[in-house]
Every structure is written in structure tokens, then in C-alpha cells.
Symmetry: C2
Subunit: 332 residues, 2 copies
């Protein structure tokens, strides 16, 4: 049984209103959860929705709060997320970043006391749809071991880079672990092997068994020591510039309450227009895709292309969802 975008969004909205979000915020949040689901990122769409509502119920996500400005200097602003809903906070900061970039060419916002923003790629698409480049990242609970360690004392701190392009933006959305916990949970649930080794098992051997990695809590940083190092710098920058929590201060038991996030927005049409930019990007992509592939069936994709195609198809055809998770949402 296929479900349409509007039906799923209606279901989410209904529940969000029931749990005390006002109509406007319920509208935005339901759009985000539905978009994430239809883009193929169920782990930060429908699969995460019950957990999100749980955070609302236990008070770690505050339905009536939204970000307030703490301080600003030129193109840099420091905001307090006041523990509002992560996706709403992030969207407001993206909008504010766009305003700063309109005024100064570039804008940077450091946000403290926010909440889990679900799929950060959404904000990359959002900014790019409005014609702006977005570079953003968050810190997370300690779920990634430093290189050489068996305990997580840094986060998988996802990074997003969104770039406007007609006919489908370029949006990179990547955690600093080879696979996000969301992805690994999906593979484990479906009892599938990961395409490549994604971490260490409890004996310290590289493995493609997602369940063993979830068990050992030793996901592989991208680029081994490089991803662990990049993750550390993202945590330091987010906590330092926002004055908020670092990974060391975030804990799973509190639902990852109060992460710090950075939003950098750049206006790409200061000295060239949209169609010039589009032509350049198309030339770069055409060259990128011209590389000979390992075999005849393998294709080269740019970041965001697969999610974009999946969303288009899902919107047209409706989406197949796991009955259990759908029932779980309906029962909320």
C-alpha cells in the first residue's frame, strides 16, 4: 500500500498539533519529516518521528521555544536555540544566515542550546532552493572513537554543503562516521551486510556487520584518523563560537539535548549571475561524470543526486513504508 506525500505529511501534522505545536510550526515540521522520508532518509524521517515526539513529551524539545539572538558583530551572530525543535531552529537560522549573506556576502551563525535537527541535508536543499550556499554542521553525543581508541569521545558531527543548481541542487550531507547510526540501524533491521567495512567489532577487527558495530560502538571515521580529526575541529568550533555545549557535555540519555551548530551562508551571485553559475556547474559535473567507470552498470553521482531522484519518484508514485513504523506513528 503506497502512501502519498500529502497523506504522510497530514499524519505527521496531525500528531504534531496533538503534541502542542502551533499550526505554522506543525506545518513546517511535518513538511521536513515527510521530505526526509520521501528523500530516502527514513532514519531521520518517519523512523525518527516517534523518538522526536518522545523528546517533546519528556520536555527536552520545547514546543513553544524558538531561537533568540544573544549577540552579533558584523556578519557573525551568536544565537540561543532555547531547546526548541531542532529542525525549526535550524530552518530559522538558515533563513537568518541568508539575510546576513544578503547584507554582507557571507554570514555566520553559531547556535547554542538547540536540539537534534534530524536530516541536515534538508537545510542545504532549503538554502540552495533560495539561491544560497549553505555550509553547516552540528556536534553530537560522543559516538565516534578518536583514532586508536575504543571509546567514543567525539561525535559523528555531520556536515552539509548545499550549492544551488537548476534541476536539482548539489547537497552533500555526511556524518564523520563511514555510516550514520541511522543507516546502520536500517541495515541491521533488514539483516543486510554493509557495502563496505563500517567499523570495528568488539575484537577490534574491521567488519561489514552493522549490528556488531552498533554493539562495539566503534564506527569507522571517514578517512580513519582524518575523519576523527575533522570531527574534533567541528566540535570545538561549534562549542567555542556558540558558547554552548561540546560533545563531552551531550548525553544520549537526555536525547542529545542542547547541541551546538554552525551555519555559514554565502551569496553566490555577488559577481556572477545564476545562469553563469549554472553553466559552470554543469560543465564541472559533466567532466566529473565523464570518468570511465569500473564496469558498464556503475554510474557516477554527484552529492544529492540520488536523494533528489528518489524523492521525485516517491512523490510521483507514493512511498512504501514499513507497516510497524507507520502503526507506531498512527498510535502516537
Amino acid at each position: 500500500l503506497k502512501i502519498s506525500f500529502d497523506d504522510l505529511k497530514g499524519l505527521f501534522k496531525n500528531k504534531l498539533v496533538k503534541y502542542n505545536f502551533n499550526n505554522d510550526n506543525a506545518e513546517i515540521l511535518s513538511e521536513i519529516f515527510t521530505d526526509n522520508t520521501f528523500s530516502g532518509i527514513e532514519s531521520h524521517g518517519i523512523n525518527r518521528f516517534p523518538g522526536f515526539i518522545q523528546c517533546v513529551v519528556n520536555g527536552s524539545v520545547k514546543v513553544d521555544e524558538s531561537p533568540t539572538k544573544i549577540n552579533s558583530f558584523g556578519a557573525f551572530e551568536k544565537w540561543n536555540g532555547n531547546y526548541g525543535a531542532g529542525p525549526l531552529n535550524a530552518l530559522q537560522m538558515t533563513d537568518r544566515g541568508i539575510e546576513i549573506a544578503k547584507q554582507y556576502g557571507i554570514g555566520c551563525i553559531a547556535l547554542q542550546n538547540s536540539n537534534h535537527w534530524m536530516r541536515p541535508g534538508y537545510f542545504g536543499w532549503y538554502a540552495a532552493d533560495k539561491g544560497f550556499i549553505l555550509i553547516c554542521w552540528t556536534n553530537t553525543i560522543p559516538n565516534l572513537p578518536p583514532w586508536g581508541a575504543i571509546e567514543g569521545t567525539t561525535g559523528n558531527n555531520p556536515l552539509v554543503i548545499g550549492i544551488p543548481k537548476k534541476g536539482g541542487n548539489i547537497v552533500l550531507d555526511m556524518a564523520m562516521s563511514q555510516y550514520s547510526y541511522g543507516t546502520m540501524l536500517n541495515f541491521d533491521r533488514e539483516n543486510k551486510k554493509l557495502p563496505f567495512s563500517g567499523g570495528f567489532d568488539s575484537k577490534g577487527k574491521l567488519t561489514d556487520n552493522a549490528g556488531e558495530i552498533i554493539n562495539s560502538q566503534r564506527p569507522l571515521p571517514i578517512g580513519y584518523w582524518k575523519g576523527a580529526g575533522l570531527s574534533l575541529t567541528f566540535d570545538i568550533l561549534a562549542a567555542l563560537l556558540s558558547g554552548g555545549r561540546a560533545t563531552k557535555d551531550l548525553s544520549e540519555s537526555e536525547g542529545e539535548m542542547g547541541p551546538s551548530q554552525i551555519f555559514i551562508v554565502i551569496n553566490p551571485t555577488l559577481f556572477s549571475n545564476e545562469s553563469e553559475n549554472d553553466n559552470l556547474i554543469k560543465d564541472i559535473l559533466s567532466y566529473f561524470k565523464s570518468a570511465e567507470t569500473i564496469d558498464e552498470i556503475t554510474k557516477i553521482y554527484y552529492p544529492g543526486e540520488i536523494a533528489f531522484n528518489k524523492k521525485k519518484r516517491n512523490i510521483k508514485e507514493g512511498i512504501d513504508l514499513d507497516d510497524k513504523i507507520l502503526q507506531k506513528v498512527e498510535a502516537l
Copy 2:
């Protein structure tokens, strides 16, 4: 036979003056090449010096040129590197970025028509020593295959993130390939195996043999598809914002002439002072390093720590250099 920092710097400076750099620029460049060498990055220090001089001789690096501003809007500036020496151009842009960040909190410079900047970490150290955060990257010749491809149509586009810290800054300096070509050339020269698989051999199998990777031209992107995607976004942003060359326009035969580079500088002391920042960073590092390691001899390092320690030791004790490369420099 150990050589001191000042002696090696004197040798470089002597040669740079001989090849028509003025005294000030020869002083700065010799400092950079010596620092890179003493920090353990010989591949972008002494080993690269003869190639750099060759670029001066063939005119791809122009000794008398320096960057000029093309355009500016608020905290964003577009500059032309005029094919000056890459390290000099990058240093000037870092200084200019610091000036912008002083005025606006954050500054962004997009530089076209520069040249190879050698070890980009140097500029991270430089900015951090002055109390500023630097995020910068460059595009490069097409030396990294997109995921699924056997031909390089994107670059290994190194990224630097420098963060000020008393007693040794945090400076991440990483190419988008698991190992830089410089590192692989060193392993190949010394006939050593890479610590981990660093790419594919000509049959498409992962290998730790640096020579086979240099042969196949198939280094492994960090995080597989993630690093290839990140590299593409860096290339697009650098070319788009600078109006300069993309990786597709850069070729090895011309000495990688005219890459595009991005410099983002942030002032970390707008709303907190140096000692507050230092305390926060020390707490984060202490937590990061508190993780249990895989065995008793393994240590956890933060980005830049190893290079910093190496440089300190080398400055104290002098450095052992390969006779052949030293003679090659002396013979220039």
C-alpha cells in the same frame, strides 16, 4: 649530519634570491619551505623545492606578481592571484582575511589564478598564531576518481582548519584522498607499505602498495563516496566564487598552474576572551584523549599535535635530510 633550521632556511633563501625573488619574499618563502620540512612534511618542503624553482624558471610561477582585488561586497572579497608564488599568495590572503574578520567577525576570500600553495597547514598555523580561525581549501589537478570510476576527474582538494590554542594550535590539514600523493611518493621511495589500504591497484583491488596506487592513479577518497563528493563541492565552490579555474581546467603538465582557493577567517574572541577559549579547548581535548585506546602503547593525538612536536624536536636537534635531495637543492 644534522642541519639547523636557520641553515636550511638560508640555503632556500639564497636560491630564491638567485631565481629573482626580492629579499622580503625570499625571506617569507624560505621560512615556509623550512617550516614545512621541519614539521615533517618534506613532501611539501624540501622535496618540493626543486619543482617549485622549475615552475619559476618555466614561468608558471611569476616571481614579481602578487594578488590584486577584483571585487568586494561586505565581508566577501574576490581576488586574482596573478600566478604569483602560491605560498606567498595564500599568506597574503590569510592576512587579508584576518583584516576582514576584524571588521565583520568573519571574512571570506575567493582567489583565482593562484599557484600550488605547498603545505596548506602552514596558513592554518599562521592564522591561529595570530589568534584567528582559518578554514581554507584549494582545488587541484584531477587526481582523484569519483566513486565508482577508474579515472580522476576531481581533485584531492586539501582542506585546512586552524584553531588557536596556547602551547600548540589545533591544525587539521587533510587531502580528500586517504594519502596525499606526496605521502605516497615518500612511502614508495622508501619501499614501505602504507599503514592502511590507500587506493586501488590497476586490477581494481584495494592495496597498501603506494607505487601501485601512483601507477593506477586511483587513490582512495576518504570515506569512499563521501570524500569524492566533498572534493567535488570544494572544487565547485572554489571555481564558482573566485571565477577562476575548476579542476577540469588544471593540468599536471602545466604544473597545476592557476588553481582556485577559498579562505574563510573567523574571529574567535568576539564574545569570549582567549583564556576562556583556551580553557574550553583544553577541556574538550582532555575528554577527547580520555578514551580507552586499543592497546597500552597507542596514543590519541589531536590534529596538528604530531607536526608541532616534530617541529619542536627538529628545531632543537637539527634535522636529518636525504643527501640526494639536499644536493639537488644545493645544485640549483
